[in-house]
C-alpha cells in the first residue's frame, strides 16, 4: 500500500506494477489501471487513468521513463501518481481539474528497457527489439515517432543509442501509445518526463523552425519552471528542443504537437551532472515534489485554456 511504500527508493517493474494495484484499490472511484498493450518482450503496459467519470473527456497525458536508464523519471511517475490520488478531494485546484478532465499516467513507458537496466545493463536506454542483420538490439523510442522521422539527430545505426528504428512507430511500445492517443482523440496536453539536465522543452526537435504556438508554450513553460524552482531553487532552462539542446528527429512531443495537441512538453529532470543517470535515491522525492509544482501549473493552464 502507499502507506508502507518507500517513494524515496528505486523499485523493480514488478514492485511498481504491484503498487499500482494497491493505488487502484485505495482509490476505486478515481484511479483505474488500463492495459494499453504489451511490450516487445511481452510485458503488459499499464496506464493509470485518473477520472471522475465520463468517456473520452478532455485529457492530459504524462509518461515517464521512455529512456529506461533515466530512473528518476519512473520514480517521479510513481510519486506523482500517488500525489494525484491523495490530492484529489483535498487540493481544490486539482479537484476542479479532475471534475472536467482526465489524467493518463504511463509510469513505465519502456518496460523491457527498464527491466534490462535493472538486471543486465544499468546504462540501457532503448527498447529491446531485435534488429535484423545486426548484433545490436533496441531502438531509441524517442526517435521512433512519425515526426521528421529519420532526420537529423537520429542514427541509422542499430548499435547507436539514438537509432531511429526501421520505420515510424515500428516499436510496439511507441505504437501502443500512438493507438491510445489517436483512438482517444481528445488529449489537450502531452507531457513526457525524461532525465537529466534540468530542462523544460516544447516542439520542435526535428526542426529549428518555431512552432506556431512557440510564444505561448514558452510562456507556459516559464511559469511552470518558476513554480518548480520555488521549492528547492533548482534551475531550469526553457525552450524548444532544437534550440535548447540539439536537433533530434522522431520525438514524441513533435508528433503529438503535429497531431494537434498544442500543450506538448518534455521535461529533463535533475541533475545538472554530478551523478547523471545515477541520481541518488534520496533525491527522488525532492525531484518529484518540485516537478509536481510544474506539472500542476501546466495542467491548470490547460484546464483554463480550452481549445
Amino acid at each position: 500500500s502507499s502507506k508502507s511504500f518507500n517513494f524515496g527508493a528505486y523499485h523493480s517493474l514488478e514492485t511498481i506494477y504491484s503498487w499500482m494495484d494497491g493505488l487502484v484499490a485505495a482509490h476505486p472511484n478515481l484511479v483505474t489501471k488500463e492495459q494499453i498493450g504489451t511490450s516487445y518482450e511481452g510485458r503488459p503496459m499499464y496506464v493509470l487513468k485518473f477520472s471522475t467519470g465520463g468517456d473520452k473527456r478532455p485529457a492530459i497525458w504524462v509518461d515517464s521513463g521512455i529512456h529506461s536508464r533515466e530512473w528518476v523519471s519512473q520514480a517521479t511517475g510513481v510519486w506523482t501518481a500517488n500525489q494525484i490520488a491523495s490530492d484529489y478531494g483535498t487540493d481544490a485546484s486539482l479537484t476542479s481539474l479532475l471534475k472536467t478532465m482526465d489524467i493518463y499516467l504511463l509510469i513505465l513507458a519502456n518496460p523491457d528497457g527498464y527491466v534490462h537496466s535493472h538486471t543486465s545493463d544499468r546504462m540501457w536506454r532503448k527498447t529491446r527489439s531485435k534488429n535484423p542483420g545486426s548484433m545490436c538490439r533496441g531502438v531509441d523510442p524517442n526517435r521512433n515517432w512519425d515526426a521528421g522521422f529519420g532526420g537529423p539527430g537520429a542514427s541509422t545505426n542499430p548499435c547507436s543509442d539514438s537509432y531511429h528504428g526501421p520505420s515510424p512507430h515500428s516499436e510496439i511500445e511507441v505504437k501502443n501509445v500512438v493507438n491510445l492517443v489517436k483512438n482517444h482523440g481528445n488529449f489537450k496536453s502531452f507531457i513526457s518526463i525524461h532525465a537529466y539536465s534540468q530542462l523544460l522543452m516544447y516542439p520542435y526537435g526535428y526542426t529549428c523552425t518555431d512552432a506556431l504556438h512557440a510564444a505561448e508554450l514558452d510562456s507556459v513553460g516559464r511559469s511552470a519552471v518558476q513554480k518548480l524552482s520555488s521549492l528547492h531553487g533548482t534551475t531550469y532552462k526553457v525552450g524548444s528542443i532544437c534550440k535548447i539542446i540539439y536537433q533530434a528527429s522522431g520525438g514524441s512531443i513533435d508528433w503529438t504537437y503535429n497531431l494537434g495537441i498544442k500543450y506538448s512538453f518534455a521535461f529533463e529532470l535533475r541533475d545538472t551532472g554530478r551523478y547523471g543517470f545515477i541520481l541518488p535515491a534520496n533525491q527522488i522525492i525532492p525531484t518529484a515534489s518540485e516537478t509536481w509544482l510544474a506539472l500542476k501549473d501546466i495542467m491548470e493552464y490547460v484546464r483554463d485554456h480550452s481549445y
Binding site: A9, T15, S120, M123, G273, Y275, G276, I278
Partner: protein, 96 residues
C-alpha cells in the same frame, strides 16, 4: 550482468566551436566505445561522457592534446552502481 568497473564519467565544459567539432569527432569514433550522456551541442551545454576504463588514457590524452579542459564527474561508475544496488536490496527487505 554488465559491469562498469573503472569506468569514469567525465565532464567537458566546452569553450569553443572548434572544441565542439573535436568532441563530435570523438562521438562518431566507435573504437573507444564511448557513451555520451550529454552530447556536444554548444558552448552553453556541458558534455558528459562515460568512458570505459580501457579507453580512459586514450580519451584523456585526446582531450589534453587538443587543450580541452575536463573534470571527472564520476570516478568509478561501478562503485556508485554497487551502492545503488545495495540500497535497493536494503529497501526491498525493509518493505517486506
Amino acid at each position: 550482468e554488465k559491469v562498469f568497473i573503472g569506468d569514469q564519467v567525465i565532464r567537458v565544459n566546452v569553450e569553443s566551436e572548434e572544441q565542439i567539432l573535436l568532441l563530435r569527432a570523438l562521438e562518431q569514433d566507435t573504437y573507444w566505445d564511448l557513451d555520451f550522456w550529454l552530447h556536444p551541442v554548444n558552448t552553453e551545454v556541458p558534455v558528459d561522457i562515460r568512458v570505459p576504463s580501457s579507453s580512459l588514457y586514450a580519451v584523456k590524452d585526446y582531450l589534453r592534446a587538443h587543450n580541452i579542459q575536463f573534470s571527472v564527474m564520476i570516478s568509478n561508475l561501478q562503485e556508485l552502481l554497487d551502492e545503488e544496488k545495495a540500497e535497493m536490496e536494503e529497501n526491498n527487505m525493509s518493505e517486506r
